[in-house]
Symmetry: D2
């Protein structure tokens, strides 16, 4: 069973390769009569697209999308909603020299072995270009959830060794988008940008961490014992290119606490919103999820990204026949993908919540 679908009820299937005709996504299960805001979808794609600033790759893709099914008179019909994005700035010849070589820490070797063939043009299907389709689908999920008041805010909390100070606050989209590195702490953002520029000049790359907060999520989302809300969020995040780790709530640091410190006390709110059902916890080490089910508090998680594998330095490697070869450091690349990954993380989070929002309807 191949793995190009995600979600159970709000289910997406993505298709397309980095240098094929197009990439796209079919959403099967989007409820009918959802009003489509095309400007919003484009703005989400623009946050992900290459060439958006001096700290990203210079590949030029406008990522203009087209809805080719499932929408009639500007509303979803309940039938499969398909979005396609044509590839325009393809330079497959840039990759010809790599056709037989295995780039270190890329998917070249494993794809070759698994499938017995290889689309060497820009990584083919393994390219992060595929995530544009996820962002488009995630925009539809966000439109669906916006009606429930559910919001997604992700930001860059770490680049290389530069970390944000504040790890408690929730930042607004405006604060996040106020700079090109998508870090809402101004001073930290500047340090990050400098570090990225310096690293780019060295032909090297950086990793980092994205912090995400989901606000206004209703109580009750998540399907134990296997499809716990955080388990599905974790899988969603780990399916993004270059991700190496996921933690929610207190995460890895929480392992050092005692139970008496870690437990989140319940408290009544004086004027509860309908989402909260009047219940809050005084702390939120649970990260908004208890027993695998959302408890109405903010859902908070971190996603770790490794440094990009494509570097502008020559590397020793091996080719298909086992010969030692040099993989040359040339072409276009991102010195740090983390800023561009912010909308991808949000999109995957929205897809998980949309799916669980529909799944929870069974109990109503």
């Amino acid at each position: 069973m191949a793995g190009n679908s995600f979600g159970q009820l709000f289910k997406i299937t993505t298709f397309g390769e980095s240098h094929g005709a197009m990439i796209g996504v079919v959403i099967d299960g989007c409820p009918s009569n959802l009003k489509i805001d095309e400007k919003f979808i484009q703005s989400e794609l623009d946050r992900r697209k290459p060439g958006q600033s001096k700290i990203t790759t210079q590949r030029k893709e406008d990522d203009v999308f087209e809805i080719v099914s499932g929408v009639f008179e500007n509303k979803t019909t309940g039938t499969p909603l398909t979005i396609i994005i044509r590839n325009s700035d393809q330079k497959p010849q840039d990759y010809k020299h790599l056709a037989d070589k295995f780039r270190p820490s890329h998917a070249d070797f494993t794809y070759s072995e698994k499938y017995g063939n290889r689309d060497y043009r820009g990584g083919g299907r393994s390219s992060a270009r595929e995530t544009a389709a996820r962002v488009a689908a995630g925009a539809i999920a966000k439109l669906l959830l916006k009606k429930q008041g559910i919001q997604f805010n992700a930001w860059v909390s770490q680049v290389g060794t530069v970390k944000m100070k504040d790890s408690e606050k929730i930042f607004s989209n405006k604060e996040i988008e106020s700079n090109i590195v998508r870090c809402p702490e101004k001073a930290t953002a500047e340090k990050m940008i400098k570090l990225i520029e310096k690293t780019r000049k060295e032909g090297d790359t950086l990793g980092g961490v994205i912090t995400t907060v989901i606000t206004n999520c209703p109580v009750g989302l998540g399907e134990p014992v296997f499809d716990k809300l955080h388990a599905d969020l974790g899988k969603a995040m780990l399916s993004i290119n270059a991700v190496k780790g996921f933690e929610f709530g207190s995460g890895f640091e929480g392992t050092k606490m005692k139970g008496s410190e870690h437990n989140d006390s319940f408290s009544l709110t004086p004027n509860p919103s309908p989402k909260e059902r009047g219940m809050r916890t005084l702390t939120n080490h649970s990260g908004g999820i208890q027993g695998g089910i959302s408890n109405g508090m903010e859902i908070r998680f971190n996603v770790a990204f490794k440094p990009v594998a494509t570097i502008m330095q020559d590397q020793q490697s091996i080719d298909k026949k086992g010969n030692k070869v040099i993989v040359e450091g040339k072409g276009r690349h991102d010195p740090c993908v983390v800023p561009r990954a912010v909308p991808i993380v949000e999109a995957m989070a929205a897809l998980v919540i949309a799916d669980h929002f529909l799944r929870n309807k069974i109990y109503k």
Copy 2:
């Protein structure tokens, strides 16, 4: 869509509550003619069972299992294999005083809200008792994979703030099982045990980290773009009670490295085993998985456990009607579940690999 099944081809469905008649698991998709080793299954359950040492809960469950379908003349038939484990040491009356109260950082509140009811007896379905069924199923998966030479070794690498020194080595089952805390560094193990005993006396609890290594995994397992091998491992681990985080390979620490340091160089092995296809990487920051597909190197990951929510101290909380109440600290509990979680982590890892092993057969 409820979430009590896991896996696509090697698919398990677990059932049962902490204080119901039994817990159990149906495995649908186990290949036929696998020889069943009942002693091995029992030994796996024994590693998880309560009351196994002075540092675990004193609930007495022998966890005797019974295979009630799918095996004929000691071999699997290819039909659903069902294992049941009767609950014996049930004391539902121990929980009567909790029937209306929401225990902090438990699933009481969220289950009540989601399902509109609550089986208060020991947490009902949300109890970690359900994981015995996973361990039984995982034992079947291990038997299947043992024929391929694939091995699973997990150990406790951190309890509270006590951490192991060595984070590179692979430890044998014998080293791991040499002490009750399942930490293969003798000196560290002693510190951990002391810390657990001290914490138990305080009526408090501890979290920790389990490190897992899968050896001899063939190249090619994993189904991009969503069912990447590490994404399914991550989901599997996050579905275990009390887990807060997952990282593989370089993990969160890897975010601080540069691409040129992080990339794993390919190298040829002089006498390759068939699993490796002659290819190794000199370092293994990838954690044995590249592009979501196993590359033949050791698969290595860490799982973070929060401190147990059940503490032997009185806690402020709230009941169903919103009254302030005291949740008393009494009953049986584990001061630190991490040692008992070792076989659970291994079982879930085996279930993921068995599933992907079957999924990869399509390409042969």
Copy 3:
């Protein structure tokens, strides 16, 4: 991917063999707070159980069921609901003489070839004994749907060449259960019973047809383009042992009509029930389903059963090694399974409707 689960949201997994310890079913996805009526479940099982009358097999199974999970204080909890039925009247020795022989038109040969082994005791997993688990699960589905007023009525409309006269009416459960052959036309029923008794004496067997009507099904169930309501009903019926055909509405006879005769005209009802939305069709060649979606009219379909393969006559066959052998006609058998299949057909219909009832909630 093995095939022992049915349904997407109201999902069942059955397990167990004819002569193993037990058969059973796990229902994952039954909404919480459904009141369980154990008497009703038993009465459904009693309609299917062997030895219920002179025209059925004399195997004695009381088919006493036990709910071992998912129900607390007599209500469903929303967690997996498991029902087990122990096998009591097992006589595996009765089958020893068949261990290497392939019984004609049984599953012996195909199971042997597919799985590379064979549980020869009464057909193992291929036995219709498995359908007891379906009837138990179907009873839960019926309880869920009864709250919506949805009803299921199936009856025997043909045995061998004896057919009912009336093919338009809807019969009540009382009329159906008024005789042992479950045919609501008294005179026809008597003919059928005589035919069955005569055929039993000849050591031979009969097939037949079951007609089913679902009343009060709301408009809107069914998920085009593949999971059309009648497509899922058809699959459900065809999955029952001995079924050879399925037709709904005008069925095979409808192929001979012209469009102008076959089209069902819409009409308004003066005092519409909420289910109908005020719309009726003057004829119902559509069988209550248009475009794969229920239209509020009665859903009507027929299921064809072949004559039972186990006959009390010696038959020429072949064994595992290719030797010619005689399969002796001895043991216990049903001369005609159709009367006992009535509750099975109803159960599978109820499972399909329950599943689509939940699936349709997404659009609300």
Copy 4:
């Protein structure tokens, strides 16, 4: 859970509406390194396309397909294979007069009620235009299975009341394609064509039956107890527009036989092909499937099609608001879709066999 995907391992998802930009299909799970024969795919689409002869609708669609992902250097890569077909001869204005009216025996009413909206342009998603995507996907499945020697031959065995004489033979593709009605009995074909022409002049429509034979299917395909091979074939056929019934092997007629007549005796073949494993049955009432698993004999089944609902006569109906209205008989239509449905039936059969072929690999 919406229903636009079919298959478990060889899984297709179709998208698109009759008068949208395009229709298409994503195949996820097609094994890698399959050589693509574009001419064959086009020839399959040509057999289904409108306007192909005087007895079909005059809508002009060339049904030119484009593979936009999953194929590199003319071979499948193992990643999602997407085929799109642009709609060219759209005349949505032809349907404007129907926007509020419910056409009898169409999906207008049920789609409106289910989704709360309606794409009235040519039936939108409910149009049989969607089946072009199935035919394209089926062509890929056929290419995969051709390597195993598996063949699919379907023909029109009945139109209205005109039936073929021979119900035993297997006809070749050449015989079937020798006339425009796709009936391999010349004299019967002529009668059918005359009947269709006469009926067209009356503004009326006809139904019919398609008989299908699958030859060279290996022993072992099918996954009891629910995903029996014939159950999945039945669902596949019933999911095709206008289908009302499915039977395999002896089918509905077989209900009238006795067990002693119906049972298929096993026999050894002198020079067995590898597919048969040396075993044949002397008769084939089982239709090539026993216990839900293929037995190596020809798989044979019939599919019943109702007369097309679109007639060129005025019909009484009702509109959205409940007013009585006339649905005028105008526009383009097929007097009998059965000849054009032949490649659709074959395509769905190929998709089922491809899926089960992959599913059966688990046991190897």
